[in-house]
Symmetry: C2
Subunit: 386 residues, 2 copies
Amino acid sequence: MRDVAIIGVAQTKFGELWSNSFRQLISDAGLGAIEDSGVGGKDLEAMFVGNMSGGLFVQQEHIASLIADSMGLLPIPCTRVEAACASGGLALRQGIMAVASGYHDVVVAAGVEKMTDVVDATPAIATASDQEWEAQQGATFPSLYAMMARRHMYEYGTTREQLAMMSVVNHMNGAKNPNAQFRNEITVDKVLNSSPVADPLTLLDCSPVSDGAAAVVLCAAEKAKEFTDTPIYVRASAQSSGTIGLHNRRDITTIDATKVAARKAYEMAGITVKDVDVTEVHDCFSINGLLAIEDLGFAEKGKGGIALEEGQTMIDGDFPINPSGGLKARGHPLGATGIAQAAEIVWQLRGDADKRQVDGAEIGMTHNVGGTGGTCAVHIFGRDKN
Amino acid sequence: MRDVAIIGVAQTKFGELWSNSFRQLISDAGLGAIEDSGVGGKDLEAMFVGNMSGGLFVQQEHIASLIADSMGLLPIPCTRVEAACASGGLALRQGIMAVASGYHDVVVAAGVEKMTDVVDATPAIATASDQEWEAQQGATFPSLYAMMARRHMYEYGTTREQLAMMSVVNHMNGAKNPNAQFRNEITVDKVLNSSPVADPLTLLDCSPVSDGAAAVVLCAAEKAKEFTDTPIYVRASAQSSGTIGLHNRRDITTIDATKVAARKAYEMAGITVKDVDVTEVHDCFSINGLLAIEDLGFAEKGKGGIALEEGQTMIDGDFPINPSGGLKARGHPLGATGIAQAAEIVWQLRGDADKRQVDGAEIGMTHNVGGTGGTCAVHIFGRDKN
C-alpha cells in the first residue's frame, strides 16, 4: 500500500451563492486546488467528487461526467461518491485508495453542493435518514438531533448553555475565516434566545443551508516533493457504518460509527487521541459536535459539555476543534464539507491558517458524519509521513 | 498493486418487481453473492454500491448506510458510487481499487435500482444528460440516441433492419436467461413495427424500465482459492469520461469514452480485442450496442450494422455479445447493470451459463456506459490471472 500526500487545496466561499452555478462552484474549487498544487494538466489522472444530492437539489445526476467536462479534464475518469453529509469524506477516501493502489499517481478529491436552488431544502436533506421509517413519519434532521440532545441532557446533566458553547466557539473561529458563511461572533445568550427549531435546539445550534465546493489534490507520497515543498501526509483513512435509523440504535447519545472509525484511524496512524493537535468535527448541530468530542476520545462519555464550557476546544485550548468555524459558521454545503475539513487541516499543518492558526500543529484529524451517524469517515494527516 | 479475483456472484430477477422494496432487492443480491462465494460474515470488510438515483426514484439518498444496515453488515464501510447508468461499473472499479490497494481483502461490489415506484421514470433518467443544455430543452434519452442512430445511418448507410438485429439477438439470448425481464423471442419485423418512440427508434430498440440488483464478491487474488475453486480474475479495470452533452461531441457516431476505456483495458490486460471470447455491452438502445461493437474494436467504424446482420454477435458467432440478453432483454435497472454484466461474464467463464453458454470462453469483457457516453467503464476478466 503506497503512502499518499495532499499537495494542493482550495475552497470556494461558502454561503448563499445565487450567482454561481453548480458547475461553476466545483470548477472553481477543483481548478484552485490544481493551481495550488503546481500539478500540470497532463499529470492529473482521475477525479473523485463527493455530492449528496445533485438529483434533488439541481436535478442533475451523472455529475462526475458534467464536472470532468466543465473543468476541461476529459477524458480522465471522474467518479461521484455519495454518503449524505459524509460524501466529501468518502470521496477523499476513494481518492486515497486510488493512489494507494497504484492505479493512479495524482488525483483530485473534491466535494460540492448547491442547496439554495430549491424552495425548501428539508425534503432533500431528509433523504439522508431512513425514508420509510423516519422521513415519511415526519422526522426531520433537527428533530432527530434534538432527541439525541435531549437524551444527552437527561443522561449526563449536559446543560443548554454547554451545548450553545459549541456554536459560540465555532462563530469565534469562523469570524477569522475569509471563506466562512458567517463571520459574526455570537454569545451563549444569543444562541439560547434565537428562534426555536426543535427543542432544545434553536436556530443557532443548527448549521445553515449552503452552496459551496472544496477540493484537494492527492499524490503518491514518493512523488509529492516533485510538486510542493510542503506536502501533508495522509496518516490514516477510516470509515464505518452505523444504523441509518435512530430507532435501531443501542444508545442515541453515542455514534458508534464515529467510535469505530476513530479507533481504526488511531491504529492505522499509530497514535492516540492525545497526539492530535487540531481537529475538524462534524457539528451539523451543536449536539453532534459535543458527541464527537466524546466519541473521538477527547473527553469521557458525558463530559463533552464540560470540555466545551471550559473552553478546551478553543484555538488555544487543550484540543482545538473547528478552527475553520466548523459546519455552523464556515457553512455546510453537504458534499463539500468533508473536503473543506481536509483543506482546513492542510492549511493548519502547513502553518498557513493566518489568524485561526493552531500554534505548531503537526497532526490533524477530520471527522465527517452522514445522517445521524449512518456513516462516519475519520482521516488523520501529518506534517511527517509517520 | 495486488491482483483481484471475483469469488461470488448473484443477480435478482430483473423486471417490474412491485412486491420487492429497494432494500429487499439489494439485500437479496448482496447476500446471494456472499453465499455463492463461501465467505463468512467476518471475512467481509467493505461494500461498494452503484446506484443512479435513489433520491429521485425512491426518495432515499445515503443508501450505502441503509444497505449495510439492512444486510446486517454493520459496522463495515459501505460506499455508494454514481455515474448514471455506469454506476455499477464504477462501483466495481472502486471495489477493485480497495482490494488492489491493500485497504481491504474481501469486499462486495453491488448495484441496485428501483425504477417502478415513480409514475414516470423519464425526468429522473434525464438527469443523466446535461440538465441545463439538454433535459430542460426537452431532450430525453430516446431522442438523444435517436439522433446518434440517424446520423450513423446517414454517415455509413446503416439500415433500420441492421439496428433491429441488436434487439433480435438480445431477445434470442434473454429467452434462455431465467433472470431476464423479457424471455420472448422477437423478429426484425416486430421491431420495425413496434410503437415509434423517437424516430428511427421504436419501442423494441429501447431497454425497459426495470427494478433489480446484482452483486459480486471481490477478493485479493492470492487468497481467492481459500474460498473457491473457480475464481475469475480481474485482468483490467478502465474508465474514461466524455462530454456529458451530445452537442459538444466531435462526432456523435462514436463514443470516445468507450474508445479510451477500451484501449486502456486492452493494454492493462495485455490482450487485443481478438482475444476476447465473450462480451456484455451497454445496449440501452440498439444503436448503443452497435456503436459498442465498433468502438470496442470488434468491427471497423461503420461496419457494426453488417456484423449484426451477419449474426457475428450471436452466441455461436465470431464475437458473442450479450449472451445474458443485454440491457434490452435482461432489463436495465440502471445502477445494477454494470454489476449484472460482470456476473454474467463470471458465469460464462466458469462454464455455468447453461443454455446461453459461449463454448470454452476464457476471457470476457464488460462495457458499461453512463448517459450518452459521458462515462464509460470497461472491465476484462479471465479464467487465468494473466
